[in-house]
Symmetry: C2
Subunit: 106 residues, 2 copies
């Protein structure tokens, strides 16, 4: 059972992949463009992008011979929701803040 959650957390486990996500937050980029930002082979970056895609953290739009990688906020949100399990353990101050936010979103 390799759940989407598992793939997502695995994807976040590597610092390079977390950096890629922050890169793509600013702008969607092709593989070569992403690779320009790192001191490693394009092939290595491609592997990281595949892992990120498997974790549903990025979406890919093929356009001719290029491949545009975009951040997928939904995937990140799903991982975020895992933390909800621990809601009862956040500290009171934070709980208050959270309540305020949730109330604000109604």
């Amino acid at each position: 059972m390799t759940t989407s959650e598992q793939m997502g957390f695995r994807a976040l486990a590597d610092p390079t992949r977390r950096n890629i996500l922050q890169l793509l937050a600013h702008q969607s980029l092709t593989i070569a463009e992403v690779a320009d930002n790192f001191d490693m082979t394009r092939a290595a970056v491609k592997k990281h992008l595949t892992v990120l895609q498997d974790g549903n953290l990025i979406s890919v739009q093929v356009e001719g011979r290029t491949r545009l990688n975009a951040l997928n906020p939904d995937g990140l949100q799903q991982l975020l929701s895992w933390f909800d399990f621990f809601d009862a353990f956040w500290d009171t101050r934070l709980n208050t803040l959270k309540s305020a936010i949730e109330k604000d979103m109604q």
Copy 2:
């Protein structure tokens, strides 16, 4: 550079460790007690607990010959805060609505 953030995300990458965290959310447990909940050696569970401690996700209180493992909400909270970077990308629906409204007001 093995930052606390890196250790934290690495700790979350394994499903067994995430399960241990949820276990400890209900109740602090000794190593043997945690191990009772999994189909693996106590030594293996001990390793997982060490990784969780390195990631600052659990705290350990030694009491005589036993070792009580407790959830550390602060560590989880620190990992949660990593997601704040993407705040501008959350709630696409609301952002879309906001854009629509702004466009409409021009």
